[in-house]
C-alpha cells in the first residue's frame, strides 16, 4: 500500500469514523463536557482581536468550501466572468488571511497571558497548532496554486463525493502538489481530534435562539398526568 492509498482512501475513513462516533457519544452521554471553554473572563483585550478575526474568517471560509462542494456547477458558472472570479478569489484569500491573523493572536495570547496559560490544556495547544497548519497551508495553496475556486470544483468536489459513496478516487488527488495534500490530510487530522477537543462547540451553534421563546418555565411535576383524585 502506498502513502497515497493510506492518506486518501483509508485515513479519511478512520478520521471520519472517530469524528462521528465520538461526537455522538459525547453529545448524548457526556453533555456536561461540551463547552466553548470561553476564557474571556480571564483575558479580554487580545481575545477581541483574536477571536472575532479568527471566527469570522474561518467560518466564512468553511462556508465557501461547503458551497463549492454542494453546488460546484454554480460556482463554475459564477467564475465564467473573470471579474467575478477575481472578486471571489480575493474575498477568499482575504478571509483566509484574516483567520490566520486571528489565530496567531489567539496562539500568542495562550502563550503570553499567564491567566490563559493556566487554563490551556494540551488538547487546546494541539487544536491551535493543527488549525494553524490548516489555515496557513490553505492560504499558501490559494496564493501558489491560483484559482482554487476554479479547480476545487473539478478535483475536490468529485473526490469528496467519491469518499461519500465509498469508492474513493485516489487518482484525482494523487498527482496534486504536496502542499495541497498536506492541507487535505491535516484537515482529516482536525476531524479526528475534533470530538476530543473544545471544537465540539461548533456543532452546538445555538441557531434555535432565533425562534425560541424568551422565557423557559419548567414544571417539575406532570400536572395533567397526576390528576388522580
Amino acid at each position: 500500500m502506498d502513502w497515497n492509498t493510506f492518506f486518501f482512501s483509508i485515513w479519511p475513513y478512520i478520521s471520519l469514523t472517530i469524528f462521528l462516533v465520538v461526537t455522538i457519544y459525547r453529545s448524548i452521554l457526556r453533555p456536561f463536557t461540551i463547552s466553548s471553554q470561553s476564557s474571556q473572563l480571564l483575558e479580554n483585550k487580545r481575545l477581541y482581536w483574536g477571536s472575532i478575526s479568527f471566527h469570522y474568517g474561518i467560518v466564512l471560509v468553511l462556508v465557501g468550501h461547503l458551497i463549492a462542494l454542494v453546488i460546484p456547477k454554480s460556482v463554475v458558472l459564477w467564475n465564467a466572468a473573470p471579474l467575478r472570479l477575481y472578486l471571489l478569489e480575493i474575498t477568499g484569500l482575504g478571509l483566509g488571511l484574516w483567520a490566520v491573523a486571528g489565530l496567531l493572536i489567539l496562539v500568542f495570547r495562550r502563550v503570553a497571558v499567564r491567566r490563559v496559560q493556566v487554563v490551556t490544556t494540551p488538547m487546546d495547544a494541539v487544536v491551535l497548532v493543527v488549525l494553524l497548519v490548516s489555515a496557513i497551508s490553505g492560504v499558501l495553496v490559494a496564493t501558489l496554486y491560483r484559482f482554487g475556486s476554479y479547480w476545487f470544483t473539478g478535483v475536490f468536489s468529485p473526490y469528496l463525493l467519491s469518499l461519500a459513496t465509498f469508492s474513493p478516487r485516489i487518482d484525482l488527488v494523487a498527482p496534486l502538489p504536496w502542499l495541497i495534500k498536506l492541507h487535505v490530510i491535516n484537515n482529516f487530522v482536525l476531524a479526528a481530534i475534533f470530538p476530543f477537543s473544545r471544537l465540539v462547540h461548533i456543532f452546538t451553534y445555538p441557531i434555535g435562539y432565533l425562534i425560541r421563546p424568551w422565557q423557559i418555565v419548567l414544571w417539575n411535576r406532570k400536572i395533567k398526568a397526576q390528576k388522580i383524585n
Binding site: F32, S38, S51, V118, Q215, R221
Partner: protein, 502 residues
C-alpha cells in the same frame, strides 16, 4: 389567570449588621471550588459604594436587564440575531478584574523556609495562576467605607442626587452607609434566561427558582452580561455558568437557604408568594414610576377564593396555599407594602424584597458638639415631616428600590417611622398620645397593623420567619423514572468530571 408559586426572600435592611456570615455560609456550601473562588452568590456590600462587581449598576457599561423601547421590551444586551453575531466575543462581559483576582497565602513557606535571620512570611498568591500577587482589591474591599471619595461617591445609584447633598454625604459628620446583602433575585422576567442562546437557563414553576442547566450550558457567557444584578458567574475552570440556586436542596428538605438560616441579624425572611404569570408582560412594560405598583399587582391575594381555585387548577398543593397565607413575604410586600424589589427599572421583576433602611437624622457641629439638625425632643416626629433631612437621601433610596419614584419611598419610610413612634410611646412612655396615632393614620396604618409589623420585625420565631411548605418531591417527574437510574444521577456535585477541554 395563571397562578404560580414563588419562594421569596425578604431582607430587613434596618437589621443587617454587615457581618458577612451569610456570604461565608454560602461560600462554604457552594462556591468553595476551583473556578468558583471569586464567586459570591451571596454578597453584602456597603452602600453608598461601588458594590461587587465594581459598579455593577452601571448598565450603560454592563448592558444588563431590559429596556422599554417604544412599545417593545428589549434586552439591553442584544437582539436575537445580534446575540448570535456577537457570540465569538461578548463586548459587555465583565472580566475577572471587575470582580477581583482570588488569592490565598503560601502558608507552607512558614514551615519550609530555610533557617535565616528573618521571620518567614506567607506571601499572597493568586488562586488562578499560583503566582505571587500584589493584592489590589478583594471581596468587600470597600467594606464600611461610606463617604469615601473612591468608593461611596462612585456609586451609580447616586445619580440624580443633588450635588450639594452628595458633597454633604462626603463630610465626616454626615457620613452614612447601610448594608445591602444581595443574592440572585430569581426574577419573574429573568434577563439571564432570555439572553442564553442555548436556552440553558430556566425557571422552576413550582417555586420560581432560576437555574442553569449545566448540561446545556455551552459557555456563550451571555447570561453573565445580561443579568443586571451580575448574579450569574462564569466558572473559568469548568467552562460553565453558575448562579445562586436559592439552596433548593435545602428548601426541598424544609430548611431555609444557608444565608438566611445563618443570618446573625435575623434580617431574612422566607415565604411563598402566589403570582399571576399572565400579568408579567404588562407589568414589565409600564413607565418607570409605575413599575413597583405594577409589580405588586402581579402578586395575588392567597385568601381570594378565585386565586385559590386557580392555584389548585395549576396543581399547587394546599400546603403551599396555606404557606402563602402565612407568608411573611406576603405580609411585608402586599399587606403592609413596606418591602420593595431592588432596581425595579431593570424590568426583570426581581422576586427578592428589601425593607429600606431608616437613617439617622442629619447632624451639624455646633461649638464642637454634634447637634441634631432638628428641634431637640421630637426627632422622629420631625423626621416624619421632613424626610429630606434624613441622612440617606430619599432620592438615593428611590434609585435603589423604587425605580426613582420618591413617593413610594416616602410612603414606606412613613410607615416604618410611624411604627417606631408608636412602639416607642407605648413601651417607653407607657401611653400613646393622639399625636402619635395621628402619624400612624397619616402613614396609613392601624394600631393592629403597627403591632403586627413590630412583632414580625423584631420578635419572630424561626417558624414565623421561614414559612417553608413541603415540597412534595415524591410527585416530581423523577418519580416516573427507574429509581435505580435516578439514584445514580442526584446529589450535588458534578455528574461528570469537570476537566477543561475534555
Amino acid at each position: 389567570m395563571n397562578v404560580r408559586a414563588h419562594m421569596s426572600m425578604l431582607f430587613h435592611l434596618d437589621k443587617c449588621i454587615g457581618c458577612h456570615t451569610c456570604s461565608i455560609a454560602c461560600k462554604n456550601l457552594w462556591t468553595d471550588r476551583k473556578g468558583a473562588e471569586y464567586m459570591w452568590w451571596n454578597n453584602v456590600e456597603t452602600r453608598p459604594g461601588t458594590g461587587y462587581p465594581t459598579r455593577w449598576e452601571d448598565q450603560r457599561h454592563y448592558r444588563g436587564g431590559w429596556e422599554l423601547k417604544g412599545s417593545k421590551l428589549r434586552l439591553r444586551l442584544h437582539s436575537r440575531a445580534g446575540g448570535l453575531g456577537k457570540i465569538f466575543y461578548n463586548p459587555a462581559l465583565p472580566t475577572l478584574d471587575d470582580y477581583y483576582e482570588p488569592f490565598t497565602f503560601r502558608y507552607q513557606d512558614l514551615f519550609n523556609a530555610p533557617a535565616g535571620d528573618d521571620q518567614p512570611t506567607a506571601i499572597p498568591i493568586s488562586k488562578i495562576t499560583g503566582d505571587p500577587l500584589d493584592i489590589q482589591t478583594g471581596p468587600n474591599w470597600d467594606d464600611d467605607l461610606g463617604g469615601s471619595g473612591i468608593y461611596a461617591s462612585n456609586d451609580p445609584s447616586l445619580d440624580g442626587v443633588p450635588e450639594e447633598v452628595r458633597r454633604q454625604m462626603n463630610e465626616l459628620e454626615r457620613v452614612v452607609f447601610n448594608y445591602l446583602p444581595r443574592i440572585c433575585n430569581h426574577c419573574l422576567n429573568p434577563a439571564c434566561a432570555a439572553a442564553c442562546p442555548s436556552g440553558a437557563i430556566y425557571k422552576r414553576a413550582e417555586d420560581g427558582v432560576v437555574l442553569v442547566n449545566e448540561n446545556k450550558c455551552r459557555a456563550w457567557r451571555m447570561c453573565v452580561a445580561a443579568c443586571p444584578y451580575k448574579k450569574v458567574y462564569y466558572n473559568w475552570s469548568t467552562g460553565k455558568s453558575e448562579k445562586c440556586i436559592l439552596c433548593f436542596p435545602r428548601l426541598e428538605t424544609g430548611q431555609a437557604p444557608a444565608c438566611a438560616h445563618s443570618c446573625v441579624g435575623r434580617i431574612r425572611y422566607m415565604g411563598v408568594l402566589l403570582y399571576d404569570a399572565d400579568r408579567i408582560p404588562d407589568a414589565a412594560m409600564v413607565p418607570d414610576e409605575q413599575l413597583v405598583e405594577a409589580h405588586r399587582k402581579v402578586i395575588l391575594d392567597p385568601f381570594d377564593p378565585e386565586v385559590i381555585a386557580g392555584a389548585r387548577a395549576n396543581g399547587i398543593e394546599d400546603s403551599w396555599i396555606e404557606a402563602a397565607q402565612n407568608s411573611p413575604a406576603y405580609k411585608f410586600v402586599k399587606e403592609w407594602g413596606i418591602a420593595l424589589p431592588l432596581h425595579a427599572e431593570y424590568r426583570t421583576m426581581a422576586m427578592m424584597y428589601y425593607i429600606p433602611p431608616l437613617s439617622p437624622v442629619v447632624s451639624v457641629i455646633e461649638n464642637e458638639l454634634f447637634k441634631l439638625d432638628l428641634a431637640d425632643e421630637r426627632h422622629d416626629f420631625e423626621l416624619f415631616q421632613r424626610l429630606d433631612a434624613a441622612r440617606l437621601p430619599v432620592k438615593y433610596l428611590a434609585n435603589l428600590f423604587s425605580a426613582g419614584n420618591e413617593q413610594i419611598i416616602r410612603e414606606v419610610m412613613h410607615k416604618l417611622l410611624a411604627v417606631r413612634l408608636y412602639m416607642r410611646h407605648k413601651t417607653v412612655r407607657g401611653s400613646v398620645n393622639g399625636d402619635t396615632l395621628g402619624y400612624l393614620a397619616e402613614a396609613g396604618l392601624t394600631t393592629e397593623k403597627a403591632e403586627a409589623i413590630y412583632k414580625l420585625t423584631t420578635l419572630p420565631n424561626q417558624k414565623e420567619q421561614f414559612v417553608i411548605p413541603q415540597y412534595h418531591r415524591e410527585t416530581a417527574v423523577e418519580a416516573w423514572k427507574d429509581p435505580l437510574a435516578h439514584k445514580g444521577e442526584v446529589g450535588f456535585g458534578f455528574i461528570q468530571p469537570p476537566q477543561r477541554g475534555e
